[in-house]
Symmetry: C2
Subunit: 137 residues, 2 copies
Amino acid sequence: MERAIRYSKKREAILAAIRGTKCHPSAEWVYQTLKPEHPDLSLGTVYRNLVFFQETGAIQSIGVVKGQERFDGDTTPHSHFICSGCGAVLDLDQLTLNKQLDERISDQYGIAVQRHELIFHGLCQTCMHHNEEEIKS
Amino acid sequence: MERAIRYSKKREAILAAIRGTKCHPSAEWVYQTLKPEHPDLSLGTVYRNLVFFQETGAIQSIGVVKGQERFDGDTTPHSHFICSGCGAVLDLDQLTLNKQLDERISDQYGIAVQRHELIFHGLCQTCMHHNEEEIKS
DNA sequence: ATGACTGCAAAGACTTTGCATCTTT
DNA sequence: AAAGATGCAAAGTCTTTGCAGTCAT
């Protein structure tokens, strides 16, 4: 028998928070953001629901940035840019690779590729300018 | 004045260990691997040298897999496959995207892209078969 | 001799988890 | 009432760091 899933106000709020931002949040961000509305929210609940949403496919992990795992409520295919200065994560929508690529790699290497991700690294606009300032001084 | 860099037997061994394997090791792996040869090696030294090698460009981080950061001593452009079953990391050499891509993205978004990485996720050969076994039972 | 590198252990940061309690069905 | 979801705090994992001692130059 599969485990039943029940409604929960906190869970709903957590998913809404993730889907409602483009910042690709961390657990801590979700916690801090919901704290005013839900003063009794616990960080453990955030973490448990992040696992839950990943298992059900509602959100995706983008990976660990500066020590914190970051999540994306948008599961449609797109690429990301990660700023090595401030850790900001941006969507690069236009960029998607051929989905057949996964199949080709699978055959070629005898593995089962399920998905791929294309990540760009560098400095965002803000950090770029901050760097220039520093060089001058 | 820039800081002088001195020779160290441990440092040399750490880099050799990373360059001498295709497993894309973690700090712990390096430590355990060198322990027999260097019984007085400390995990802190491994971590400090991993930072050092990244700063000097001798190695690259592949990201965090199952909670552990993984490194690659091969800094030539290539892609990776990460097994979500066992955490194995494989090289996919044939696959490299256009280097001009970084420039195009930079211009388009007003950011400074320095590099990109293409990562495939799925199950390796071994984990694929283990999964089949489990389904049967 | 200088200061870079290391071992050791403590501290830090992030995440997971056990248990009692509260909620949903 | 049954079992899922949560709060709280303790525990766990990986990584960083301070300090005294060691080693390369």
